[in-house]
C-alpha cells in the first residue's frame, strides 16, 4: 500500500465521519435542548393529541429521535466503512 494514497483516503474517511457526526449531533441538540427545554413554552401552545407539544418532546419525542439518530449513524458508518475499507484491501 502506498503511504500517500492511503493517508489521503484516510483523511477523506475522517472528514466524512466528522460530517455525519456533526449533522446528527445538531439534530440531537435541537430536539432535546431546543424543543424540550429552550422553546418548550412556545411549543406547549400547540396541542398534539392529549399532549402539549413541548411536554411531549421533553418526555417522549426526544427519546424516539435519539434511537433513530443512532440507527442512521450505524447505517451511514457501515456504508462509509465499505467504501473505504474495500479500497485498502
Amino acid at each position: 500500500m502506498s503511504d500517500k494514497t492511503s493517508s489521503n483516503s484516510n483523511g477523506e474517511y475522517w472528514r466524512s465521519n466528522l460530517r455525519i457526526v456533526g449533522i446528527l449531533m445538531s439534530i440531537w441538540f435541537i430536539v432535546s435542548y431546543g424543543c424540550g427545554i429552550l422553546f418548550v413554552d412556545q411549543l406547549n401552545k400547540i396541542q398534539f393529541g392529549g399532549f402539549r407539544l413541548g411536554f411531549w418532546f421533553a418526555q417522549q419525542g426526544s427519546i424516539y429521535v435519539f434511537v433513530i439518530l443512532i440507527a442512521v449513524y450505524v447505517r451511514m458508518m457501515s456504508k462509509l466503512d465499505k467504501k473505504y475499507g474495500s479500497k485498502q484491501d
Binding site: 465521519n17 393529541g49 399532549f51 435519539f66 485498502q88
Partner: protein
C-alpha cells in the same frame, strides 16, 4: 397467595437464575474477567449494556421523581438517553478501535503518562463508588418493604429493615461479581434486562388499560381518561392545582438550571466508566456501533414508559389519598409507613390526611420506634412545618407502590420487586467490576507491580471487588440523599473529569498530557467542592440565590466540564505537542477498521 409469598418465590427464582449463570460463565482468565474475552454478540451486549446502565435510579426512582416533579423530571429522561447518543457517536467506536481494557488505559496511553493514568483511575473509582452506593440503597428500599416489613413489624434486631436489605444485596452481588467477572456479569445482565423490562411493562400496561383503555402506556399517556371527555394530562393538571400543587406539565426549575442539569446528566452518562467498558466486550468497531443501537432501543422502551407510569401513579395517588380519614387509608399506605418511607403527621388533629404543596415536617421522618398515635399512625420526633401538608411520601416508592395503589394482582407486585432488584444488582455488579479492574489492572499491574502473573492479577481483582462491596454497603446504609440524587452527583463528576480528556484524545492531535491532566484535576475538584459545599458543609445555603449563575449542585458538572475544556486548552498551548507515536495512535483510531485487527483483545 399473598404478596409476601409471591415475592419470596419470584425473587428467589430470579436470584437462583443469576447465580446459576454466574457459575456457568465464571471467568478463568483476566481477559474473561475484564471484558468477557471480547467475544459477546452485539445483541446480547446491547441488552447487557441496557441492564448495566439502567440502574435502581432508572427503575425505582426515576418514574417516582417525575411523578412528583412533573415536567422538571424531563431532565432525567432526556439526560440519560441523550447521553447515550453522545457515547455512541463520539466515544464508543473510537475507544473500541483503540482496543484496551479500561478508560484509564486509554487516558494513560493517549497522554503517554502514568500520572494521567493515575488521575483517570482515581476519577473512575470515585465515580463508581458514588454510583454503587445509590444501587445498594435501591436494593435496601425494595427489601425493606417486600421481604421484612410485614413479618416482623418495622424493626428487626434493632435495625430498620432497609439496613437488612442492603446487607442481603451486598452478599448477592459479591457472589456473582467476584466469581464471574465480566463474562459472568454480561450473561447475568442479559437475564436481568429481561426480568426488569418485563417487570416494568406489566404493571404499566395493566394500569394504562384501567385508566385510559389503551394497552400501550406511551399512547395511554396522551389519551382521554376512560369514561370521561378529558385528556389524562389535563385531568392531572386539574387535580394538582385543585389540591394546591403546581400544574404537572409546567416546570418549576429555571430554564438555565434545567439546561445545565440535563447537560451534566447527558455528558455524565457518556463518561461513566462502567458503560464505556461495555464496548470493549464486542469483537469489532462495527459491532460496538450496532450494540450501542440495541442498547438505546432497549433503554428507550423503559424510558418512554416511565413518564406514563409517573402520570398514572400520580393520578391514582391524588385520587385516593388526600382529604380522606387516615383510618380509612388504603393498606399500601400503612405498609410503606411500616417500611419507614411514608409518614403522616396529623397537624390539625382532625384524623384526615391533608396533602398539598410543601414539606410536611422538618427533615426526613424520625419515627418514635413503633409507638402509635390516636389514629394508629407511627409517631414522629420531627418538628412540624408551617404549611398545611401533613403527608411525607418518599419519592423512591412510587414505582414499587404503583401496582398496589392500582390494586393489581399480588404476583405483579412481587414481579416489580424482582425487577427493581435486577436493575440495582446489574448496575452494582458492572460498577464493582470497574472498581476491581481499576485496582488490579490499572493500579497494580500497570503502575505498581508490572511483573505479576495473570493468576495473581485475577486474585487481586477479586479481592478488590470484595472490599468495594463492603464499602458500598456502608454508604448504602448511611446515604447522603435519596437514590437518584446520589447518582446524579456521579454524573456531574464524570462529566467534569473524563469526558473532555477522552474527547480531546480522539478529536485533537495537539492535546498533550499537561493539558489533559490539569483539565481533569481542576474539573473534578471544582465540581466535587461545589457539591460538597452545598450538600454537606452549608446545606442551608443550598438555594437558587446563592448558587453560581443559578446552577444547582446537580447541574454544576456542566460548568466543571467547560472549565475542564478551557483549562486543558490553555495549559496545552503552553506545552509542547505530544510525541509522534501518540499522534500515530490517534491517526490509527480515526481510520476504518482493517481485517485482523478485531482480535486485539484476546492477546492480553
Amino acid at each position: 397467595m399473598d404478596v409476601q409469598t409471591w415475592t419470596y418465590l419470584i425473587v428467589g427464582l430470579t436470584f437462583a437464575l443469576y447465580i446459576g449463570i454466574a457459575i456457568w460463565a465464571r471467568a478463568a482468565s483476566t481477559g474473561e474477567f475484564y471484558v468477557a474475552g471480547g467475544g459477546v454478540p452485539a445483541l446480547a451486549n446491547g441488552m447487557a449494556t441496557a441492564a448495566d446502565w439502567m440502574s435502581a435510579a432508572s427503575f425505582i426512582s426515576m418514574a417516582g421523581i417525575i411523578s412528583f416533579d412533573g415536567f422538571d423530571g424531563s431532565r432525567y429522561l432526556m439526560g440519560w438517553t441523550g447521553g447515550y447518543v453522545l457515547l455512541a457517536l463520539l466515544l464508543a467506536p473510537y475507544l473500541r478501535k483503540f482496543g484496551q481494557f479500561t478508560v484509564p488505559d486509554f487516558v494513560g496511553d493517549r497522554y503517554y503518562s502514568k500520572t494521567a493514568r493515575l488521575v483517570a483511575l482515581i476519577c473512575a473509582i470515585f465515580i463508581s463508588f458514588t454510583y454503587v452506593c445509590g444501587q445498594m440503597r435501591g436494593v435496601g428500599v425494595v427489601f425493606s418493604r417486600f421481604l421484612f416489613s410485614e413479618v416482623e413489624g418495622p424493626m428487626l434486631f434493632g435495625f430498620e429493615p432497609i439496613t437488612w436489605g442492603v446487607l442481603i444485596g451486598m452478599t448477592v452481588v459479591f457472589f456473582y461479581a467476584v466469581l464471574g467477572g465480566m463474562k459472568g456479569i454480561t450473561y447475568t445482565q442479559v437475564a436481568q434486562y429481561c426480568v426488569l423490562i418485563f417487570a416494568f411493562m406489566v404493571p404499566a400496561i395493566f394500569i394504562s388499560v384501567m385508566l385510559t383503555g389503551n394497552p400501550i402506556p406511551q399512547l395511554g399517556l396522551g389519551s382521554n381518561v376512560i369514561g370521561e371527555e378529558i385528556a389524562l394530562l389535563d385531568k392531572l393538571d386539574g387535580l394538582s392545582t385543585q389540591l394546591g400543587f403546581d400544574a404537572y406539565t409546567q416546570g418549576n426549575k429555571s430554564t438555565t438550571d434545567l439546561f445545565f442539569i440535563t447537560m451534566a446528566l447527558m455528558v455524565g452518562t457518556a463518561g461513566l466508566p462502567h458503560v464505556i467498558i461495555r464496548f470493549y466486550t464486542v469483537k469489532k468497531v462495527s459491532a460496538a456501533r450496532v450494540s450501542a443501537f440495541w442498547a438505546l432501543l432497549f433503554i428507550a422502551i423503559l424510558y418512554t414508559t416511565a413518564p406514563a407510569v409517573a402520570v398514572f401513579a400520580r393520578t391514582n395517588l391524588l385520587e385516593t389519598v388526600p382529604n380522606k380519614p387516615y383510618a380509612e387509608a388504603p393498606q399500601w399506605l400503612k405498609s410503606w409507613e411500616n417500611a419507614g418511607l411514608i409518614a403522616w403527621m396529623d397537624k390539625n388533629d382532625d384524623g384526615i390526611i391533608q396533602y398539598t404543596k410543601g414539606a410536611s415536617m422538618v427533615g426526613k421522618p424520625a419515627y418514635d420506634g413503633d409507638n402509635r398515635g390516636e389514629n394508629k399512625e407511627r409517631l414522629l420526633f420531627n418538628q412540624p412545618t408551617e404549611g398545611a401538608n401533613e403527608l411525607y411520601v418518599d419519592k423512591d416508592i412510587m414505582v414499587l407502590a404503583n401496582p398496589e395503589i392500582a390494586k393489581l394482582p399480588n404476583w405483579v407486585i412481587a414481579l416489580v420487586a424482582a425487577g427493581g432488584l435486577a436493575a440495582a444488582l446489574s448496575t452494582a455488579a458492572g460498577l464493582l467490576l470497574v472498581i476491581s479492574t481499576s485496582v488490579s489492572h490499572d493500579l497494580v499491574k500497570k503502575t505498581l507491580a508490572p511483573g505479576i502473573s495473570d493468576k495473581q492479577e485475577l486474585l487481586i481483582a477479586r479481592c478488590a471487588a470484595g472490599v468495594a462491596v463492603v464499602i458500598a454497603g456502608i454508604f448504602g446504609v448511611y446515604p447522603p440523599d435519596f437514590v437518584a440524587s446520589v447518582v446524579a452527583f456521579a454524573f456531574g463528576l464524570a462529566a467534569a473529569s473524563f469526558f473532555p480528556a477522552i474527547i480531546f484524545g480522539i478529536f485533537s492531535k495537539r492535546m498533550n498530557k499537561e493539558g489533559a491532566i490539569s483539565g481533569m484535576i481542576v474539573g473534578i475538584v471544582f465540581t466535587a467542592a461545589y457539591i460538597i459545599y452545598f450538600k454537606f458543609i452549608n446545606p442551608d445555603a443550598n438555594t437558587a440565590e446563592s448558587w453560581w449563575f443559578g446552577i444547582s449542585p446537580e447541574g454544576i458538572g456542566t460548568l466543571g466540564m467547560l472549565i475542564n475544556f478551557a483549562v486543558a486548552l490553555i495549559v496545552c498551548s503552553f506545552n509542547k505537542a505530544p510525541p509522534q507515536d501518540v499522534i500515530n495512535m490517534v491517526e490509527n483510531i480515526r481510520q476504518p477498521e482493517k481485517e485482523g485487527e478485531e482480535l486485539a483483545v484476546s492477546d492480553h
